[in-house]
Symmetry: C2
Amino acid sequence: MSDDLRRVTELDRLIHEPARLLIVTILSTVESADFLFLQRESGLTKGNLSAHLSKLEDAGYVKIQKTFKGKLPLTVCKLTAAGTEAVAQYRQQMQSFMNLTTK
Amino acid sequence: MSDDLRRVTELDRLIHEPARLLIVTILSTVESADFLFLQRESGLTKGNLSAHLSKLEDAGYVKIQKTFKGKLPLTVCKLTAAGTEAVAQYRQQMQSFMNLTTK
DNA sequence: TAAACTAGTTTGCAGTATAAACTAGTTTAC
DNA sequence: GTAAACTAGTTTATACTGCAAACTAGTTTA
């Protein structure tokens, strides 16, 4: 009876975490973003952002390129195809869930 | 600029957890529900359900009444006014977030 | 009266989010 | 020239969490 409702427990926890949901959402609005841009936009601390980015990278959702801007390190992040797909699916599942009880 | 987006990190974590989101959503569709009904509907294990209910109770979101059905214990759960309000707010916040990028 | 069942709760463990502390290098001040 | 402050991150420590297995307390069945 509440089989549809139950699917809420199948949400991708990697995306579900608010800090990461924020990060991937920001990333989905730009072609790519460097670390400091993400930090400013998200308001997360460096440590926190770094840890979340590593998880997203491990999951294959974000590609991280380390280069240099002049002599300073520059970390550029970009959603992968898998990441884009995961975000789309998450949004679809969450919206479906919301629609089940909103009306 | 992404101030609106950032609010996603302010979501009530107590409600955000999928298992609890499921529980409170089920509770919001009924006047009250006993433990076994919730277990069947949610598909959660007893231990898990018990632990989540305790958290919701501690938060004041769910009222738990322990009685007996004949000689067997019966645990009846019910959303409190605060719980109903918290769920409504969560839904509103999550929907706002979704609307920011879905469009 | 022993075995199986009911209705839960507690415990143990593995995983998590977070900020503080750290690393490695660069620029500025004196 | 070298000490202090800054940049751009990563690692570590801690406190919290979700989860199922093990347990509790009582009841019914054999």
